[in-house]
């Protein structure tokens, strides 16, 4: 339905444009759809726009749950 990739904001170029980095590849993206984006933040990039910020805390939490879930099992 909708391709969206997490990219890290590395440069804010104008009031609405920024550069996002995905594994060393940099793409110009538009920030009009998100609020309060700072350098270092991760955003989901879709069709040249940041459509949402990635919540780092929640990401860690999901990874923790996955880890607990998979490690808590007998091999």
């Amino acid at each position: 339905m909708c391709l969206g990739i997490p990219g890290r904001i590395v440069e804010i170029t104008t009031d609405i444009m920024a550069k996002a980095d995905v594994a060393g590849t940099r793409k110009e993206i538009n920030l009009m759809l998100v609020e309060d984006v700072r350098i270092g933040d991760y955003v989901i990039v879709h069709a040249g726009f940041a459509i949402q910020k990635v919540n780092e805390q929640e990401a860690q939490e999901t990874l923790r749950i996955l880890k607990e879930f998979t490690e808590g099992m007998s091999p």
Binding site: C2, L3, V22, G24, T25, K27, V45
Partner: protein, 336 residues
């Protein structure tokens, strides 16, 4: 030459054509077969087995990070000869030029062809130039044909592939495809990746002179690894299983692919080999490849199996298997 740009008259066969040949092509490619400027090059090869191939190059843009259309046109033909086990010796070069291209640009391309040919000890011994009207071409098309000598009685062919053989690649996949793509209109992406465009003869020579376990070689150009492996599977009538985790792909290329919705296994390479080697020799072949700068990142990525016949299976990053099909259509940036 006084003109700054190529004009229709440069292809008319008159004075300007002569000038272009003399001052550009002869200067760059200079050799005893070309300099008489006959309608043909006459040579003696005294070899019983020869390889002959042809390829046309229409890449856009004509200059890209890591190379240009000239380098590409020489590498492409050298590589097509090399993967058959032939030593490339003579090339022809035919130019179809759209009027208006800067003579300086053409000169850079021609010099780059000469340099690449010299690197592998290949001579460009005959050629042709045509100029088409503005709008009837895309700056420059180059066709090269090549002749190579097969110095022993060895054959490399998909028909020699057997179950149990190993599949190797000489380095990271997709570099050329991504390097070209980023310079297309509307993509606006900065990828610190250069085209891998390189002549592979020296690498192939190292391999075949030190190992006799190599069954077949291919260069995975258009259609990428996935398409070339499918071709090998179909010609050999065996199956292939490769592991996603083992396929070398540069991080930046993966990143670019994620953004555009591309699969690096379908991207073109211009300086990479796929090698099928017997099980016993595979590790040794890998070591030989790694010693050559062009095979530094070589990897063993899978094996040949009995079944499914003519198909390629991919063991995905999470351990499941699925088919890996040939490329259909072209990869286009997608939103979904």
């Amino acid at each position: 030459m006084k003109q700054e740009r190529i004009l229709l008259s440069h292809g008319s066969g008159g004075k300007l054509s002569y000038q272009l040949t003399q001052e550009m092509f002869l200067k760059a490619f200079d050799n005893e077969f070309l300099s008489p400027l006959n309608d043909q090059a006459i040579f003696d090869l005294s070899a019983s087995r020869l390889a002959f191939t042809t390829d046309s190059f229409v890449v856009s843009p004509i200059f890209f990070p890591g190379g240009d259309i000239g380098k590409l046109s020489v590498c492409g033909t050298i590589n097509d000869l090399a993967v058959g086990g032939a030593e490339p010796v003579y090339l022809s070069a035919s130019f179809i030029i759209e009027e208006g291209i800067l003579i300086q640009e053409l000169r850079i391309i021609v010099d780059s062809m000469a340099r690449t040919a010299r690197q592998t000890g290949v001579k460009i011994i005959t050629g042709d130039t045509k100029v088409v009207e503005k709008g009837k071409g895309d700056k420059l098309f180059i066709n090269t044909s090549g002749i190579g000598i097969i110095r022993n009685d060895r054959t490399f062919s998909p028909h020699l592939i057997r179950p149990g053989d190993m599949i190797l690649v000489s380095g990271s996949m997709g570099d050329h495809g991504i390097a070209i793509l980023c310079h297309r209109e509307g993509i606006q992406m900065e990828v610190p990746v250069e085209s891998d465009c390189a002549p592979l003869y020296n690498l192939v020579h190292d391999m075949v002179s030190q190992s006799d376990g190599i069954r077949a070689m291919r260069d995975p150009t258009r259609g990428g690894l996935a398409t070339t492996l499918n071709e090998l599977a179909i010609s050999s009538n065996y199956g292939m299983i490769i592991k996603e985790d083992l396929i070398p792909v540069k991080e930046e290329v993966r990143g670019a692919c994620e953004i555009l919705g591309f699969d690096p296994l379908y991207l073109a390479n211009e300086g990479k080999l796929i090698v099928i080697a017997s099980q016993e020799s595979a590790t040794a072949v890998l070591e030989i490849m790694k010693k050559n700068p062009l095979g530094r990142d070589a990897a063993l990525i899978g094996t040949v199996v009995d079944k499914p016949q003519g198909k390629v299976l991919l063991e995905t990053a999470i351990g499941n298997k699925r088919f890996l099909d040939m490329l259909s259509g072209e990869q286009l940036p997608r939103i979904c």
